[in-house]
C-alpha cells in the first residue's frame, strides 16, 4: 500500500513531469515528422519516376514496331500506285501513238487529202481558165456584133445621105461638085452618088388600119402577126438538078397570098361591127351622148326624100333580071375560068373547102385528066 500511497503522493508530480517532458519533446517531434515525410516523398518520387521511365521505354518500343508496320504498309501502297501510274502513262503514251497514227491516216485519207486538194485546186484553176476564155470570147463576140451594127448603121446613114444628095451627081454636061474636071479622078463620094438611087418625094403615108381581123392575121399583113419576109422572092434562080418542079411554080405557090373561102373571109357580125364603129365615131365627135337639140320643131319642115329604087318613074325593077344577062354567052366568069364548065354566082352558103382549093395545088392528085 505504501507503494500505492507513494505512488499517490507522487501522482501530481508525475502529471506535471509528463506535461513538462511532453512540452520539451514536442518541437523535436514535428521536425522529425517533417523530415520523415520528406524522406518518404523523395523516395517515393524516385520510385515512380523510375517506373514511368520504364513505361516510356516500353511504349517507345511498341510505337516503333507499330509505326514501322504502318510505314511499310503505306510504302507498299505508294509503290503500287506509282507502278500503276507508270503503267497508265505508258499505256497512254502508246494509245497516243496509235491515235496519232490513226488520226493522221484518217485525216489524210478522208478529211484533208493533200493530193485530192491539189487535184481539186488544179481543176478549179482549169475551170477558171476555161471560164475566162469563154467570157473573153463572149465579150469579143459582143463587141464584134456591136461594131458590125455600128458599121451597118453608118453605112445606111451614108447611103441615105447619098440618096439625098443625088442631085449633085455629075452629068455629061455639068460636072458635079464631086467630079471636078481639074482633078485626075473623081471624088469617092461621086462613085457613091452614082450607085445611089435618087430619093423620091415622100408620099403621104397611107395609114394602116389598126384592126386586126382574121384576114390580116392569116395574110400576114398586120404588124402584130408573123414576121414577113421583107425581100421579094428571087427573080431568077438556077433550076435545081433533079426531078423538081419548075422554080417559078414553086415560088408562086410559096408566096401565094392567102385566099380564104368566103365563109372564113367575111366576118359573121359585120353589121354589128359597123354599128359599133358608127357609134364609136359618134361618141368621139360628140361632147355629150345626148344630142343637144333645143328646138323640137327644127326638123318639122324637112321633106322626105325617097330612095332611088323606089322613086323610079317606071315600074319597080325585078331583082332577078337586074343582075345577070339572059344570054349565058355573055357571062364573064365563064371566060375567066377555063377549067370549069360553067360558072354560077358565088354562093353565099358555105362552100366545101376542098373545092375552093381545087386546081390550085400542084399535086397531081387534084388534076382531072
Amino acid at each position: 500500500m505504501a507503494t500505492l500511497a507513494r505512488l499517490q503522493a507522487r501522482s501530481s508530480t508525475v502529471g506535471n513531469q509528463y506535461y513538462f517532458r511532453n512540452s520539451v519533446v514536442d518541437p523535436f517531434r514535428i521536425k522529425e515528422n517533417d523530415a520523415a515525410v520528406k524522406i518518404q516523398s523523395w523516395f517515393r518520387g524516385c520510385q515512380v519516376r523510375a517506373y514511368v521511365r520504364h513505361l516510356n521505354r516500353i511504349v517507345t518500343i511498341i510505337q516503333k514496331w507499330w509505326r514501322s508496320f504502318l510505314g511499310r504498309k503505306q510504302y507498299q501502297l505508294t509503290v503500287q500506285v506509282a507502278y500503276y501510274t507508270m503503267m497508265m502513262n505508258l499505256y497512254n503514251a502508246m494509245a497516243v501513238r496509235i491515235q496519232r497514227r490513226w488520226r493522221g491516216y484518217r485525216v489524210r485519207k478522208y478529211l484533208f487529202n493533200y493530193y485530192y486538194l491539189k487535184e481539186y485546186l488544179r481543176v478549179v484553176s482549169e475551170t477558171n481558165d476555161a471560164i475566162r476564155k469563154a467570157l473573153e470570147e463572149f465579150a469579143e463576140m459582143k463587141e464584134r456584133e456591136e461594131k458590125k451594127a455600128n458599121l451597118e448603121r453608118e453605112e445606111k446613114k451614108r447611103d441615105y445621105q447619098a440618096r439625098k444628095m443625088h442631085y449633085l451627081l455629075s452629068t455629061k454636061q455639068i460636072p458635079g461638085i464631086y467630079n471636078s474636071p481639074f482633078r485626075k479622078e473623081p471624088d469617092p463620094w461621086e462613085l457613091q452618088l452614082q450607085k445611089a438611087k435618087p430619093l423620091t418625094h415622100r408620099r403621104p403615108k397611107v395609114k394602116q388600119k389598126d384592126s386586126t381581123s382574121l384576114n390580116d392575121w392569116l395574110a400576114c399583113t398586120s404588124a402584130r402577126s408573123f414576121p414577113r419576109s421583107e425581100i421579094l422572092p428571087p427573080i431568077n434562080r438556077k433550076q435545081c438538078q433533079g426531078p423538081f418542079r419548075d422554080i417559078t411554080e414553086v415560088l408562086e405557090q410559096r408566096y401565094k397570098p392567102l385566099e380564104p373561102t368566103l365563109w372564113v373571109a367575111e366576118p359573121i357580125d359585120e353589121l354589128k361591127l359597123a354599128r359599133e364603129e358608127l357609134r364609136r365615131e359618134e361618141w368621139l365627135r360628140n361632147v355629150n351622148d345626148n344630142m343637144f337639140l333645143p328646138f323640137s320643131s327644127y326638123h318639122k319642115n324637112e321633106k322626105y326624100i325617097p330612095s332611088m329604087h323606089l322613086s323610079s318613074k317606071y315600074c319597080p325593077i325585078s331583082h332577078k333580071e337586074q343582075f345577070r344577062s339572059e344570054n349565058p354567052k355573055k357571062w364573064i366568069c365563064d371566060k375567066v375560068s377555063v377549067g370549069r364548065k360553067s360558072k354560077d354566082f358565088q354562093t353565099v352558103l358555105p362552100s366545101f373547102e376542098l373545092f375552093s382549093k381545087y386546081g390550085k395545088l400542084y399535086s397531081k392528085a387534084g388534076q382531072i385528066v
Binding site: L117, Y120, L121, V124, S125, T127, N128, D129, A130, I131, R132, L135, E136, F138, A139, K142, V287, N288, F292, L293, P294, F295, Y298
Partner: protein, 509 residues
C-alpha cells in the same frame, strides 16, 4: 338663134378648157414654174377638171397632176389633201386606157416620196384597182400600174405586204412574160422591191414562180432589163439559204457570169451582188460558185471596172474566202489576191478600201500558206500605212488592223515580216516578233539571214517591259543565238567595250 351659134358657145368653152389643161401640163414639166402654179391654186382647178365630160381633158388634167406631184413631196401631199386620190381610184377602174395610164402616173408620182404618202394611196383602196389594171390588155397601162405598185412597195415591209395581199405578185410574174421590154423591166423591178424587205415576202415572190422566168431572161440583150432582173434575183436570194438555193436551182450559173462581162456598169454591179448574196450563205453555195468558175469571173470583173461597181465583187471574194481554207485557196489560185491589193492601193474611197482589207484578212487568216500568198503581193505595208494614216476613216483603220493581225498570226514568210520590225507600232510589233520567235528556233538559214539583215539588232533595240509577252518573245529569239552575238548586237555594247579598254592594264608595265 341657130343651133350652130348655140353649139359654138359649147365648143368655145371646151376649147378653152382643153387649152388650159394642156398649157398647165406643159408648164408643169419645168421646175421653175411649179411654185407659181401652186400659188395660183392649180390644184383645185385640176381637181374639177378631173371630172370633166371630155375624156381628153380628164387625161390631161391627170397628167398635169402627176407632173406636179412628181416634183416634190409637198405637192404630192397637197394632192392627197385635196382628196383627189379617191376620184382617181374610182375612175381608174372605169375609164379608157389613156386615162388609166395617166391616173396610174399620178398614183406613182404621189407614192414615190414617202411611206406616209404611199400609205395614203393604199388607204384609198388604190391597190385593188391597180391590180386590175395589171390585167389590162394594153401594155402601157400594165406598165404604169406595175410602176405605181413598185413605188408603193419599195418603202417598207407593211406596204409591200399590202401589195402582196392585193394579189399583185402573180400578175407581175405574168407581166414579166410579156413581150414588151419596158413592161418586163418595170415588173422585174417591182418584184425586186417587194422581195427586198423580208424573207416571207421573198418567199411569196418565189412561190409565184418568178425565179424561173427571171432566170430565163438573163440572156436578154437589153442592159436595163438585165440589171433589174439581177437586182430582183439578188433581193430574193439575200434572205436565207433556202431562197438562195432556189435561185441557184434556176440554173443561173454559167449565164450570170456573162453578165459580168457586160458593158453596162449596173449590170456588172448587180451580177456581182447576186453572186455575193448567193455565196455568203453557206460553204456549199460558195463551193458551187467556185466550181462554176464564178470567182475567176468576178476577179476579172473587179479588174475591168472602177469605184462602187467593184464593191460587191470584193465582198464576194471575202465571203467565199471566209468560209473555209480550201475556198480561200481557190480564191488565191484564181489570182484574186493581186487584184484585191490593186483595189486596196488604187481606190480613192475608204469604204472600198475597207472592204478590200477585210477580204484580204479573210483570205490570209487560214494557214501559213494563205498568209504567204497574201504577203508576197506586198500588201502588208499598204495595210499598215492605211492603219497608220490619219486620213483613213475609223472603219478602215479597224478593218486593216484586224486584217494585219490575222495575217501576221499565220505568216511565216520572213522577208515580208522584216520591214515590220522597223516601222510597226508596238501592238503590231508584238505579233511580228512572236512570229519570228516561232520560226527562228527551227530554221538555221533564217537565223543566219535574220542576223545579216539586221533584224537581230533591231530586236535588241526594242524596249519591252519585263514580264510582258513581247519580252518573252524577244528572250526566245535571243535563246536561238550564242550569247556573244546577242551582246554584240545589243545597244551600248561598243561603250562597254571601250570601258573595258579604259580599264585594261597592259601586261608589259
Amino acid at each position: 338663134m341657130s343651133q350652130r351659134q348655140v353649139l359654138q358657145v359649147f365648143e368655145q368653152y371646151q376649147k378653152a378648157r382643153t387649152q388650159f389643161v394642156q398649157m398647165v401640163a406643159e408648164l408643169a414639166t419645168r421646175p421653175q414654174n411649179i411654185e407659181t402654179l401652186q400659188n395660183a391654186g392649180v390644184m383645185s382647178l385640176l381637181r374639177t377638171l378631173l371630172l370633166d365630160v371630155v375624156p381628153t381633158i380628164q387625161q390631161t388634167a391627170a397628167l398635169a397632176l402627176g407632173r406636179l406631184a412628181n416634183y416634190n413631196d409637198d405637192l404630192a401631199e397637197a394632192v392627197v389633201k385635196c382628196d383627189i386620190l379617191p376620184q382617181l381610184v374610182y375612175s381608174l377602174a372605169e375609164q379608157n386606157r389613156f386615162y388609166k395610164k395617166a391616173a396610174a402616173f399620178v398614183l406613182r408620182a404621189v407614192g414615190k416620196h414617202s411611206p406616209q404618202l404611199a400609205q395614203a394611196i393604199v388607204d384609198c383602196g388604190a391597190l385593188d384597182t391597180l391590180v386590175i389594171c395589171l390585167e389590162d390588155f394594153d401594155p402601157g397601162v400594165k406598165e404604169a400600174a406595175a410602176w405605181a405598185l413598185r413605188y408603193i412597195a419599195r418603202h417598207n415591209a407593211e406596204l409591200s405586204q399590202a401589195v402582196v395581199d392585193a394579189g399583185a405578185v402573180p400578175l407581175l410574174v405574168l407581166c414579166i412574160q410579156e413581150p414588151e421590154i419596158a413592161l418586163k423591166r418595170i415588173a422585174a423591178s417591182a418584184l425586186s422591191d417587194i422581195a427586198k424587205h423580208s424573207p416571207e415576202l421573198a418567199q411569196t415572190v418565189v412561190d409565184a414562180g418568178a425565179v424561173a422566168h427571171l432566170a430565163q431572161m438573163l440572156l436578154n440583150p437589153d442592159a436595163k432589163l438585165k440589171h433589174q432582173i439581177l437586182s430582183a434575183l439578188s433581193q430574193v436570194s439575200k434572205h436565207s439559204v433556202d431562197l438562195a438555193e432556189m435561185v441557184v436551182e434556176a440554173e443561173i450559173f454559167p449565164v450570170v457570169l456573162t453578165c459580168l462581162k457586160d458593158k453596162d456598169e449596173y449590170v456588172k454591179k448587180n451580177a456581182s451582188t447576186l453572186i455575193r448574196e448567193i455565196a455568203k450563205h453557206t460553204p456549199e453555195l460558195s463551193q458551187l460558185v467556185v466550181n462554176a468558175g464564178g470567182v475567176a469571173a468576178v476577179i476579172d470583173c473587179i479588174g475591168s471596172c472602177k469605184g462602187n461597181t467593184r464593191l460587191p465583187g470584193i465582198m464576194m471574194l471575202g465571203y467565199v474566202a471566209a468560209h473555209s481554207e480550201n475556198l480561200a485557196m481557190a480564191v488565191i489560185i484564181s489570182k484574186g489576191v493581186p487584184q484585191l491589193s490593186v483595189c486596196l492601193s488604187e481606190e480613192p474611197e475608204d469604204h472600198i478600201k475597207a472592204a478590200a482589207a477585210w477580204a484580204l484578212g479573210q483570205i490570209g487568216r487560214h494557214t501559213p500558206e494563205h498568209a504567204r500568198a497574201v504577203a508576197v503581193t506586198n500588201t502588208l505595208p499598204v495595210l499598215l500605212s492605211l492603219y497608220m494614216s490619219t486620213e483613213s476613216s475609223e472603219d478602215l483603220q479597224v478593218k486593216s488592223k484586224k486584217a494585219i493581225k490575222s495575217i501576221l498570226q499565220k505568216c511565216t514568210y520572213l522577208p515580208a515580216l522584216e520591214p515590220f520590225l522597223y516601222d510597226a507600232p508596238p501592238n503590231i510589233l508584238k505579233h511580228v516578233v512572236g512570229q519570228f520567235s516561232k520560226v527562228l528556233p527551227h530554221d538555221s538559214k533564217a537565223r543566219r539571214l535574220f542576223v545579216t539583215s539586221g533584224g537581230l539588232k533591231k530586236v535588241q533595240e526594242i524596249k519591252a517591259e519585263p514580264g510582258s509577252l513581247l519580252q518573252e518573245y524577244i528572250n526566245s529569239i535571243n535563246n536561238c543565238y550564242p550569247e556573244e552575238i546577242v551582246r554584240y548586237y545589243s545597244p551600248g555594247y561598243s561603250d562597254t567595250l571601250l570601258q573595258r579598254v579604259d580599264s585594261y592594264q597592259p601586261l608589259n608595265n
